[in-house]
Symmetry: C2
Subunit: 448 residues, 2 copies
C-alpha cells in the first residue's frame, strides 16, 4: 500500500507536517488500514509526533485491540496527554482495557483530579450505564429563566457545539436531577419562562448500575437520544446516549459468530502471529479434547466396525449433520432470548416447539441418508441403521441445541461461546452410539 | 402466560377497551411475546378492533416476520388504514416485504397519492439510502429569517414535536437542497438573521442510491444524526438517520451467525411448524449432500480401513477440527472486510498472515492428536499418520477459510451463508484423503 509507505517515510523523517498531510487525505476506514499496517515502533513514533488532539482523533479510527497495543507502547506522559483529549467514556474504556501497570503509570502522569475521575469511571462494568455514560452534560438550575440560559448558551456557544448536546438537565442543591429539557423546548418557549415551569419534571433516568439489556429495552421503548444516569441518591452523574448503547449492542451481536468459533478477543491480522495463534488455539485445544472423548465411543465398537466397514463412511456424516441441526436450534434460541420472546426458564416451551421441527427434519434427513446407505451397500438394513440413527439424533440435537442457550444463560455462561462445543460433543457421542449399537444389534443382517 | 390469556379473552369478547388496557400494562418486549403467542385469527381480530393509530404502534413492537404474517391476514381496508399511520420508511419496508398480491390490494385501498409515494419508496433497495430514508423533513426557504421560522415553528409545534427533527434543510426553487441548519443554530442566532447567512451551505448529502456500507462509513466519519438524501438533480427527497443506518447494520451483523447456519429468514418459534422446518431443511439438505460427497472419499479406502480399524476413530475428529480452524479464519476475514482492513482482492496478504498461524496451530493440534493416536494404538506410525494429516489439513483449512470470504464477496455471494458448507466439504475431502492415503502408503507399518 502506497500510503502506508508514504506514512512510514514521513515518520522515519520525523516530518510531522507530512504525517498530518498523509492522514488528512484518508477517510476513517482507510486510516484504520494504513495505521494497522505500520510497524509497532512506527505507530509509537507517529502518536508521539502528532499533537495530542490529532493523536486522540486518530485513535478513534483504529480497531480497539490495536489502540490498546499502541497506547501501551507510548511513554506515560505522551499517553496521558492523548488520553486527556478523549471523551470521558472513551477514556474509561481505554484505561480499563490496558494492563494494570500501564494504566497506573498513565494515570499517575495526569492531573490528579482527572485521574481520579477516570479511575471512578473504570470501576463501572463497561457494559453498564456507568461504563457507557459520558460525564460531559449541561446541567442548569431550576430557577433560571429561558432568557438567561440562552444568553449563557450564546456566550458558551463554542463549548456547547463541541458537546453535541441534545438535552439539558435541571438540577437542584448540588446535583440532584429534577427535570429535563430538550433544546428545542427552549427554542419554542418565551424568554421569561422559568426552567422549572418548562422542564419535564421527574424525568426518566437510569441507575449507574443498569445493564446493557435494560438500557437497550429503554431506548427501544422511548424515542430519546440519551438518558440521564444517576447514583443511588438521585444525583446526576452523566448521560448515556442511544448511540453508545447501539454500538455496544452491535459489538456484542457482531461477535456472536466469532465467539461461536472461540474468538473471544478481537483478532485483526496486524497483531503478532503468536498472539493470534494463542487466541485461536485456546478454544481449538478444548475442542480437540472433547472430540477425542466423543470419538472414544467409536473405539468401543471396533468389532462391529471391522465387520461392517461401510459404517465408517457414515460416522462423520452423522456427526456433522447433527451438529448443524443442533446449532440451528441454538441460533434460534439465542435470537428469541435477545428479542425477549422466551425467558431462560421456559425449557418446556422450547422443547415442544423444537420437537415438532426435529421430528420432521429427522424423518427427512434420516430418510435421505438411509436411502443413500441402502443404495451404496445394497443392504436395506444398513440403510435403516444409519437413517434411524441420524433421524433420532436430529431430534436429540435440536432439543439439546434449543435448550442449551437457556440453561447456559441461567448459569451466567456465554451461550455463543459454550453452546457449540457442548452440543457437538454430546450429539457426536450419542450419534456414534446410536449407529454402532443399532448396527451391533442387527449385525447378522448387515454382514449376511 | 397469563397476559396472553387475558388478551385472547378480551379479543374473543370483542372488548376493545379491555384489549387496550392489557397492552398498556406491558413494555415492548413483553408485547412482542404476548402478541406472538396469540393465534393468527386472534392477531387479526385484535388489529381490526384497535384504532389504526394503536394498531400501528403495536406493530412497531413485534418482530418483522410476525408483522408480515399478521398484516397479510387483514382486510385490505384495515391494513391500509394502519399503514397510513406508520412513518414513511416503515411503510415502504412493510409493503416491500408483503406478497405482491397483498401489497397491491392494500395500496389500492389507500389514497392514490400516498400509494404512489409508497410504491416509489418500495422501488429503492431496502439497504440503500432510498430504502432507509424518511420522507418527513422540515424544509425552509433560504430567504426566510430566523424570527419568521421560529414563529412558524411555534405555531406548528405539535407536528414538529412528533417529527423528532434534528435538522432543518434549506431549499431553493422547488426542492433543490442548498443548506442545512441544526436546530441549535436557530437557537443561538438573532431573529433578523436570514437563513442563507446562517446555514451551512453546500451541505453533505447522499445519493438516493448510496448503499449501506457508504452510509455507515459516512456516519462513522461525521458525527451527524442524519444526512439529507437527494436525487440526481440535487432535489431533497428525505433524510437518512444515523439510527436507521445503525439498525440496518446491526440486523446484518446479528444475522451472520444465523446465516452461517443457513437461517436466511428470521425464524421465531411462533411461526407455523412446517414453515420453520422448511426454512431449516433447505440448507441441511444441501449440507447432507455435500457430506455424502466428502464421505465418498472414505469409501475409496475401505481396504485400508478394514486393516486399520482404529483409523475410523480419527476420521470424525479430523473432519471436525479442520472445520473449526477454517471457520475461525472465515470469521477473521469477514471481520477484517467489514472494518475495511482488507479489500476482497488481497488474497496474497491473507494467505501470508494465515500461513504462519496455520503452521503453528497445525503443529500443535497435529502433535496432540498424533500422541493420542500413538498412545491409543501403541503404534507410533499411526500417530504420525493422523497427526501429520491433521497438521497439514489445519494449514489447508485456514488458507481456504481465510480466502473464501474474499472470493465470495468478489463474486457477490454472501460469505456468511456460503463459506461454511464450501469450506467443510473441501477440508473433509482433503482430510479424509490425507489420513487414508498416508495410511495406505505406510500400511505394512500400521498392521505390523
Amino acid at each position: 500500500m502506497e500510503e502506508t509507505q508514504r506514512l512510514a517515510d514521513a515518520i522515519h523523517e520525523g516530518n510531522t507536517e507530512q504525517i498530518e498531510s498523509v492522514l488528512e487525505g484518508l477517510d476513517s476506514r482507510r486510516i484504520a488500514r494504513v495505521v494497522c499496517a505500520l510497524a509497532d515502533a512506527d505507530q509509537t513514533a507517529m502518536l508521539t509526533a502528532l499533537t495530542p488532539e490529532d493523536a486522540a482523533e486518530l485513535l478513534e479510527d483504529i480497531p480497539d485491540v490495536e489502540v490498546i497495543e499502541a497506547v501501551s507502547q507510548l511513554s506515560p506522559a505522551t499517553a496521558a496527554a492523548i488520553l486527556h483529549e478523549l471523551p470521558s467514556d472513551e477514556q474509561a474504556d481505554l484505561v480499563g482495557a490496558l494492563d494494570e501497570e500501564d494504566a497506573d503509570a498513565i494515570l499517575a502522569a495526569m492531573d490528579p483530579a482527572e485521574a481520579e475521575r477516570i479511575a471512578q469511571l473504570v470501576a463501572h462494568d463497561p457494559e453498564s450505564a456507568g461504563g457507557l455514560m459520558a460525564t460531559e452534560v449541561v446541567s442548569l438550575r431550576r430557577t433560571a429563566t429561558v432568557g438567561r440560559v440562552l444568553d449563557r448558551f450564546r456566550k458558551d456557544a463554542d463549548r456547547l457545539r463541541r458537546l453535541d448536546v441534545q438535552y439539558a438537565y435541571v438540577t437542584e442543591k448540588p446535583r440532584r436531577l429534577v427535570g429535563v429539557l430538550r433544546l428545542r423546548d427552549l427554542l419554542l418557549a418565551d424568554a421569561t419562562t422559568r426552567l422549572e415551569d418548562l422542564m419535564i419534571a421527574n424525568p426518566l433516568s437510569v441507575s449507574v448500575t443498569a445493564d446493557l439489556r435494560e438500557l437497550s429495552n429503554l431506548f427501544e421503548e422511548y424515542a430519546f437520544l440519551g438518558v440521564p444516569v444517576v447514583d443511588a441518591e438521585g444525583e446526576l452523574l452523566g448521560v448515556v446516549s442511544r448511540s453508545a448503547v447501539d454500538d455496544a449492542t452491535q459489538d456484542q451481536a457482531e461477535s456472536d459468530f466469532r465467539r461461536s468459533l472461540g474468538l473471544v478477543e478481537e483478532e485483526v491480522r496486524s497483531l503478532p502471529t503468536l498472539r493470534r495463534s494463542r487466541l485461536r488455539l485456546a478454544w481449538l485445544t478444548i475442542n480437540i479434547l472433547l472430540n477425542v472423548v466423543a470419538a472414544s465411543v467409536i473405539a468401543g465398537y471396533q468389532d462391529t466396525l471391522a465387520q461392517v466397514i461401510a459404517l465408517a463412511v457414515f460416522l462423520p456424516i452423522i456427526s456433522d449433520m447433527s451438529g448443524c441441526s443442533g446449532n440451528q436450534a441454538v441460533a434460534v434460541s439465542m435470537r428469541e432470548l435477545s428479542l425477549g420472546l422466551i425467558e431462560p426458564f421456559e425449557l418446556l416451551r422450547v422443547w415442544l416447539k423444537e420437537a415438532s421441527v426435529g421430528l420432521i427434519n429427522g424423518v427427512a434427513l434420516g430418510g435421505l441418508i438411509g436411502v443413500v446407505g441402502w443404495l451404496y451397500t445394497g443392504n436395506a438394513w444398513l440403510g435403516l441403521v444409519v437413517g434411524g440413527a441420524l433421524g433420532i439424533n436430529t431430534l436429540v440435537a435440536v432439543l439439546i441445541g434449543g435448550a442449551l442457550p437457556l440453561v447456559l444463560k441461567l448459569r451466567g455462561i456465554d451461550p455463543a461461546l459454550a453452546a457449540g462445543p457442548i452440543l457437538t460433543t454430546v450429539t457426536d457421542m450419542f450419534g456414534f452410539f446410536l449407529v454402532l449399537s443399532l448396527a451391533t444389534a442387527v449385525l447378522p443382517r448387515l454382514v449376511g
